[in-house]
Subunit: 357 residues, 4 copies
Amino acid sequence: MLIRLRKRLPPDAISRVLRVCTELGLKARFLDGGRELLELEGPGGPEARSRLEDLAGVLAVLDAGSARELFARVPPGPRQAAGDGPPVGDTVVQVGAARFGGGHVSVIAGPCAVEGEERLVEIARGVRERGAAMLRGGAFKPRTSPYSFQGARHAGLERLARAKLESGLAVVTEVLDPRDVEAVGAVADMFQIGSRNMTNTPLLVEVGRSGVPVLLKRGFMATLRELLLAAEFVLAEGNPNVVLCERGIRGFDPSTRNVLDVGAVAHLKRATHLPVIVDPSHAAGRAELVRALARAGVAAGADGVIVEVHPAPVEVHCDGHQAIGFAELERVVADVRALCALDQRLLVTPLPQEVLP
Amino acid sequence: MLIRLRKRLPPDAISRVLRVCTELGLKARFLDGGRELLELEGPGGPEARSRLEDLAGVLAVLDAGSARELFARVPPGPRQAAGDGPPVGDTVVQVGAARFGGGHVSVIAGPCAVEGEERLVEIARGVRERGAAMLRGGAFKPRTSPYSFQGARHAGLERLARAKLESGLAVVTEVLDPRDVEAVGAVADMFQIGSRNMTNTPLLVEVGRSGVPVLLKRGFMATLRELLLAAEFVLAEGNPNVVLCERGIRGFDPSTRNVLDVGAVAHLKRATHLPVIVDPSHAAGRAELVRALARAGVAAGADGVIVEVHPAPVEVHCDGHQAIGFAELERVVADVRALCALDQRLLVTPLPQEVLP
Amino acid sequence: MLIRLRKRLPPDAISRVLRVCTELGLKARFLDGGRELLELEGPGGPEARSRLEDLAGVLAVLDAGSARELFARVPPGPRQAAGDGPPVGDTVVQVGAARFGGGHVSVIAGPCAVEGEERLVEIARGVRERGAAMLRGGAFKPRTSPYSFQGARHAGLERLARAKLESGLAVVTEVLDPRDVEAVGAVADMFQIGSRNMTNTPLLVEVGRSGVPVLLKRGFMATLRELLLAAEFVLAEGNPNVVLCERGIRGFDPSTRNVLDVGAVAHLKRATHLPVIVDPSHAAGRAELVRALARAGVAAGADGVIVEVHPAPVEVHCDGHQAIGFAELERVVADVRALCALDQRLLVTPLPQEVLP
Amino acid sequence: MLIRLRKRLPPDAISRVLRVCTELGLKARFLDGGRELLELEGPGGPEARSRLEDLAGVLAVLDAGSARELFARVPPGPRQAAGDGPPVGDTVVQVGAARFGGGHVSVIAGPCAVEGEERLVEIARGVRERGAAMLRGGAFKPRTSPYSFQGARHAGLERLARAKLESGLAVVTEVLDPRDVEAVGAVADMFQIGSRNMTNTPLLVEVGRSGVPVLLKRGFMATLRELLLAAEFVLAEGNPNVVLCERGIRGFDPSTRNVLDVGAVAHLKRATHLPVIVDPSHAAGRAELVRALARAGVAAGADGVIVEVHPAPVEVHCDGHQAIGFAELERVVADVRALCALDQRLLVTPLPQEVLP
């Protein structure tokens, strides 16, 4: 590791930094006369890095060296080595018929919130027929106001179970409360951790322990390092099945609900071996822009798309402005397939329904 | 209420909106030939408003009328009335010796994280002597990385209990997990809901049910309406003791850690009857700027200040860059007192220690 | 037009608004008893709208009706009509061999700043061979510091003239000062108005008067309406040849220099008939992400790409981190061509060099 | 200087960096085996720094050492010295009766735009009587739309000249175009460079050459280093009379027009010897919040306030929502005076009118 200290740090603060280094089993050496640059040698992992970053007087860790995290594309290695080891290959996360990463691209589609059971089954079949490999649908909804519809909750989970059975599609649904992880996990093939809960670490730890795959949405104002460290909370519990999702950051222009950060997709594909998908529905906030943003995300390298679909957007309980209909989903899937072909990637679609047992 | 529909909404969408209005007991009337402006009359509360906002086709609620929330300074009233009723007076939240709102200003001080017991007692006494009316200190720490120090946890709560006893100061400490509300509430005189948990609605509901006062920090990218609606989750559970805290929003300039939004303080004092305080430590991220920001916050109308204090910042486990020492705290308290005097507000300080039973 | 007044506006303010309406030849009618919604009928153009927006007491123009601007995709029409007229078709801007809009896509490539003449000619030929239809290169450079290289200035213009001649490519170059419009226009086939000058209205007026095509970059913190109104300054001078450029907005994450706002591209293609291109180089700020962002921009609907290219990025005078080499440009052009084919759009490339006179 | 290179930079890039160092008369020495940290010794000024920052392969200048700029509070000094020299004392900028910096605080007040002459004289006298030391008023207005009122222009300058004469107050007014510097400078005692022109370097150079004091507003999305470097364009032309102005940055919450960044004020007072004032009117965008923001700015250390005042806000041609009346100005001035007293600073007010010759 290479760390930079504050300028003219008082001797007792320097001593304290050196003492912590010794405790961590790291050999420290100042590179410069001004005692601002400290090179550390030894087996320190990311815990060592975090401990050092927290110290008063430490400005920045300039080179993490061996202290890399589980999410890192480049494996940990000593700082002075001729070079780092070969980058880690893509993690492929498989959920039912869907696969994300390693050249596999999948589309997740479904309503914002779970409504009536018949409607949900109709949607599940409809999106499957149009090439979606997974169903999305919220039973527990995170809402800004206590007076808004908070989702069908446990009844919603039952309807999702039925829709799974009827459509053969795996299901991703949001969990908001660590106390609900067990109940939601009994139905969900994949947990969604929403944008507002990216920093909810007790929840991240709980879904990490569950072993169930996790779709982790970027907080709408989170840096990419914050997103990756949120994923690390799940990985560190022994659950390797994390799919990251870029869903738009908060901007200042009212034309779109959020700003889809395609540079984040491109950067994440280099920084981590975890799959990355995009959510054009929440980014756009307007149905008529969803298709363009889905294209942009996959063109930037995303391993999938999650999109809100509703056959009758006018009846939607929440976020109705951004749901697309079946016909538009068909166009989105066709676009994604064509974009995959440009790259020798594969759009994964479910087997025909009749093949189901 | 007055709502605006999308332009050229199809007849079935309009019918659906009107049907929902009827269900809500509201009489609807279009104001214009273009059928975009709908005036609603009736006893609809904020639930009605939320239900309408969620409807596809509804662009915005232009005037909430009777649908105002519990936090509102101006009480709900019918839209066409000659005027709204008189504004609601300030809620005064009392926690131990501290009072916030209604012309009362208090300073909360203490370490970022609870460390050793002797140290904590020393700090508690030290901040009390310098005029702080409450002690802050984190036992459960929200951290960006799973490898960072997550706080002394239950041991930290015990140390807080001891520091309360020794100093006579009431204590505010953060709670991160709804499952910890009971344990934390056994010690805390006030729960802190941190910036990262402002949207953690299960946690808000749980602290709402506890009846214990709540210090609710604004998410670093939350709008003021989002903050107020987060407070509403607590108020709606019957807990009126909510203090809002502006702690800086995420900006783009590295000179300060966050941007203290003093305009938010000024706006909130008009929009709600709840007290508002500022956290200059997290806003500045640099000890040498804390005093200036504390002054700015109180000058803008804040009912208090929460500030990180440590007698030996060099030893701090986290965020050591931003803690101020006792001498600087003394200057901050003096500034706050002087600013209160300009306004006929009162800085509330604890009784001298010897008066304690 | 439909405008919304502040609530409970005093009678003299209302009278003043009504007087201004009369002066503008508009018939005004309140829609509601609360006197907040005012419907205006008459031939008022965008000047009327601006005048009204400036008035104290006017909260917002909800519907511009006939007051639409020259950039608008949807033509001006009366508010109460059965519907607006058909949308305006794409403006096609032609600059030398390049065409933007109406299904035509072109790539502009070249160095950040003009350096030596031989080098520039080499680059011009190199990018032409790889499919770029225009050459970019800065002679006058906008810099953050007065001590930075400000460009080769007039000598740079001469070198651009030579590179044009040798390569047959049209040239776009930045103008910073209204006093330089004539000199720069003697060489440039297209003026670039950089991000920092989007709000420099005297400069916009001057390039508007010149009649030379204009590449107008979005300010890195400008809303899309602000960008379109900046274009309107050029259009209003009788110069219809404006190409808009999304080049990334300022974000909070250091992974990329800026955030390429692909939602802006998608929105602009609906809001205006003007062509829209993307600048992935300034958005990414890192050569290795440029290709992904170029793809994302064109997939979102952009009519072209402007990209920094340098055969030896290590020698670049400014922004060397973001220039790509010839081989990568070839990949970018191939990607753009493939993306165009998905949409039945056409990548416009220059005629083979030997055909030149 | 201490600079950090990219990791594993190829040998030819390293050679080029070293060659440039030699050209600049700097002795370079690698601090580490990985060849990432380069210490430079020698008399290199800010030009050297800029040249190095521009080089491909240079990640960051970690310590500017002798390359500090004219605006810097801490004077340039060699890197390895025992310490830097004593900080530079405050620059005091005097404009007519007003003084900014060095413990002097002044209030600038007046209308957004210059309207009729009688009205302007009335305002000038009115603000003088209430303690403002300078008059503000725009003759040339920067507007977002070409159809908005662009100011009374040359006629406005004449009216300003008359108001100066009648009130005895010095005048600050905006200049938008380098070609207008002479005409505006014939009347203005101080040029205003508006937020949208902070990066208009030809304009900065021109006002720098004029020698007339400059009020430089921070771009609404500019970092503080960008603001200081904009000031450097003026200082480098030999004009030391620059007053910086924080006027709010663009945020995401509609409650205020912009976010007044009081942390910027506190930081700037440490980073530069130039005076810093705040503009609460543009920050708030709402008259009722102006007073609170003026207080916050001065409490944070600002050397003055510039505020929009109009005796009949309802008649204002632009930005009428944010102008305060005479009575509120009186309260603002009283607040500023009281805040100055807390700090042993002095509010500078004009001599009584009758003393004028």
